[in-house]
Symmetry: C2
Subunit: 194 residues, 2 copies
Amino acid sequence: MKKLATTKYPVNELIKSRWSPRAFSDHKIPKDVILTLFEAAIWAPSSRNEQPWRFIYGVKDEGANYKKIYDTLVHWNQQWAKSAPLLVMTIAKRNSEYHNEENTTALYDLGQAVANLSIQATDMDLFCHQMGGFEKEKARDTFNIPSNYVAVTVVAIGYYGDPDKLPDDMKELELKARSRYDLDRIIFNEDFKP
Amino acid sequence: MKKLATTKYPVNELIKSRWSPRAFSDHKIPKDVILTLFEAAIWAPSSRNEQPWRFIYGVKDEGANYKKIYDTLVHWNQQWAKSAPLLVMTIAKRNSEYHNEENTTALYDLGQAVANLSIQATDMDLFCHQMGGFEKEKARDTFNIPSNYVAVTVVAIGYYGDPDKLPDDMKELELKARSRYDLDRIIFNEDFKP
């Protein structure tokens, strides 16, 4: 299903095509395709090339990680994310490699890596749906994540499925057009207006 | 100048080609190309579609913003960034639209928007170099940025220039190959290893 962004300016097709569905097919993702996603992620830029991004991933019906990641999701997300063949927990390293100070751009850099992953996914007919709705302390306990790292999102990834299999409230969201603020509210060539 | 990422897996050409130079040409960027960059940025995903990204931009020799942004940069960055025809200050909105709580993914979402902008730039033969090295409190004063917003990076953007015009130490960095940690250090299909 296509939900192209309605842009005023001619943006790249991958950016235009990317959206966050809830209906995934049960088609498995080949291992080399999964690794290509992560390879795309790590070639994002980061402050002083610190690369403060880490990814714990679980493939459905393979090993223990899928269930462990799934179990951290809030109920609303569990209802639909169970159809995705791949779950990825994204993690930021909060302290700098070079000294023990806070890396203030760790989350920003992680976001760039995940954006790269999403663009690469779109290029391989995959879809990503990022979630903030998961239990962060449970994630920390489950995977023994030390305090200088923080889990930020869980991403459900897969090929597109059948929206008719979604519950009614989710199906409505699935079919709703994508929307964004007007550019004028976001960019400032003179004074900044909050 | 090309500095392709040396990837093991076949990532998208735009991701492979993107890098952060210091040598920009004095070729101006057409206004509609600038707006296309921002249009690409805003179609990134964000938590609850809050779109916590804002951009103050300045075009060289047009209006007051270029100089104002430039003046916030640390000296090292001022030396080379002066050749870029476009400077963009990226800003995150730290509180949620829906309630006054902290938006814990604001920086992460901003990073995704800037990654989109960078991919779009690459697609239009432009290069971006993001900088954390600028005076954040000076930025806050200069643009009256309220406390629920925070300036995160300044991005220098332009067409590629002549690396021979850079000082020797910067030229060395310009020609150095891009590098990343091995994937094995970054992704975990079993236990997380910090």
